[in-house]
Symmetry: C4
């Protein structure tokens, strides 16, 4: 028994959703779940196959990236998670994957255009793609700087992390987050399907227009607005 | 026991086909089944995962969209179903999905061209794409107006809903219908595979011609004509 | 017991491979198996879902397309099978599917170019696409004429049905055959994967060259030549 | 019992991963595992379906391609394996597949560009594509020469087989290797997913830039460098 069991369990269950949703090959992804009161998060151990995961193997790390509990080395992306938890104080869970279509858009260094209501049900803007990092950031504390690269992208584009819960890191792959780890995984699957649909849309019609503002507003409001009427 | 059990069961079974056929991610779809004599239809509750569905959870709604029986909120698309049932009096079931290829065509705002016999076995025309709605319709009673947008599209193109049982709503996604909920689901799967084949056809040959009238007529007649000889 | 049990069983088993190999949606495909001595073939009944098939439901038909035994109506494509069995006297089994990539090439009305050794392991030439049929043939005995359209294509291109065991019918979809029904199904799966690879090859390099003759010859010979050394 | 049981078991287990990972249709692939002290490797028998494989059916072959133990004929690609084992003395396992995206790149005769970190986690360079072989090599000892074609490609490009564990053979398909058979299979799956992502990247942005050197170095070092911090 550990006082961290609840976030270990949450991180474990959320990690196990990634292969089930077809979002990872081998160990190319990780999920974490934070406890804000305890100031720590549980994250997947690095390079451990999903079929060998157990809640007990999750690693407990503080918001500076120091391991607090656990025998295994945490995910190599741990510092990116730590930076985002530290600065974006209302995030409860974070996911990183190399899902196929999301990664292809990241490699193309393009925002994913908002072409339809599947996208608008979740975001009012294009899914942002942060530019590749400067060499000094890469050669320095790379994963730590990746967190800042994401936050700088949101600052530059005037986005709110509580409204837009997903980003592509240019050349790299998607990161998503949410109120808890399960919601962050949900957002990773949404990003992947929206990325595939946007790819196909441009193939079918290179002049396909972005969704107009009235529909964007309507679809977002019905799921997330003051008078939302989606769900129970 | 309820006098609506038969349509609850039909709607439940048809809804459960959507994930099995790969037509939905999470809760991005819904099926309804109508009883014309009772003047009501059974529809999926909003935002409930498919693995948690039961026949009892289906919501009974009248053709004006008022809930008649059920503890849960009906699908947010309920008014679109209600409008179509009210005006297209021979429909027995309706399906809405965000299936990948169908949605990509809807986002491209293009009709799906009739390129081959897979398409012609089910439709004699291109699968119509209704234009995006006017702002006044969107800001008003959106889902209600979506039903009219579909019907106006059929009126403008001179189509008969008893002949063409599927439509794309521009920027949004497909709707299909049929004599019952099971047939409407069948049509959703047909639309998705025809949408994928048409996409690939244009990639392989940008000058691929539409199917000629003689083959369209032949294939449709052998499945649906007076002397149909497909099936038992 | 029936003297046709062996071909009913062979046709049944081969039909059941189609959904397992991902080559059919619903009932969009059929397989037959011939007994040359008895002068009849067993074929899937029309429109019966694969999960409801049994060996007993296979329909026995003679080479003119007359039903000899069985309570169900045979596949609507039965006359195409009958014509091919009658004229191509060494075929033991025939398959028709609307598999996704094969059908897209058929709709594009293009032969599938021989780009690599996966193709060359099975064919020394491009996979032929028969042109769409003349209106008179379509309006006449359509499925019967489809058989002749395939044979005429082979005659025009100088192909031997014992060497090339697959064809696309323009606007329609693939047909394959082989020494028995199982081999014909194998050929359908080969056609589908070769069709997908050829599509991707042209997307990756629009100037990708056809395979050169020396490799075509080598790969074909090692699997099918006098000194074949593939397999046991 | 045989003194080769350990490599038979390793080759068997690695072969069985190919269908599980979606890398083969029917028998279009093979894996081998070498024992350097005994100077032999175990390889899949030719043309035997994966569902019929057992460890006992693996064939033991020496580094000149002579069968040492086993009742079945070894894979038709055996001589390619033998040549690579003989000259690249630190390889423990080899895989050959006709995986869909990898084969499409091979048919396009293009190196797979390094577009992102998924690629850079495993290679610091584009995945090389060896040119199609000269006619004299093809008409001679084809599979033996295929091994030399691969080695010549590495020599011409100045690549080290211990750093780059994968190659495309132009017109043909991928080969991968590694310290053991399991690692070689892992590399085959990595190649396939990187090939798919690179294809999609170019479709989304035909001007997508190659990854810059600083990121290539960083990602490779964190997984493979002296201070690697990926994995346990």
């Amino acid at each position: 028994m550990s006082k961290y069991d609840h976030i270990k369990q949450a991180a474990y269950e959320a990690n196990m959703q990634l292969p089930k949703l077809g979002l990872v090959l081998f160990t190319f992804g990780n999920v974490s779940a934070v406890d804000r009161e305890l100031g720590v998060f549980a994250i997947k151990p690095s390079g451990v196959p999903y079929e060998d995961l157990t809640p007990e193997k999750m690693v407990i790390v503080d918001l500076d990236g120091n391991t607090v509990e656990g025998d295994l080395r945490p995910s190599s992306d741990t510092l990116t998670h730590a930076v985002l938890y530290k600065h974006w104080t209302e995030i409860g869970g974070i996911v990183h994957t190399h899902s196929t279509y999301g990664t292809a858009w990241a490699q193309s260094q393009r925002d994913i255009p908002i072409f339809g209501t599947t996208h608008a049900d979740h975001n009012t803007v294009d899914i942002p793609c942060a530019p590749p990092m400067e060499d000094a950031m890469i050669e320095g504390n790379y994963e730590y700087e990746t967190g800042f690269q994401i936050m700088n992208c949101f600052k530059d584009k005037g986005l709110d992390y509580k409204e837009v819960e997903m980003v592509l890191v240019g050349n790299h792959a998607p990161f998503t987050w949410g109120k808890d780890a399960a919601k962050a995984v949900y957002n990773s699957a949404v990003l992947e399907t929206v990325a595939q649909m946007a790819y196909l849309t441009e193939q079918i019609s290179p002049v396909a227009p972005r969704l107009k503002d009235s529909i964007i507003k309507k679809h977002y409001d019905r799921k997330h607005g003051a008078n939302a009427y989606y769900g129970q």
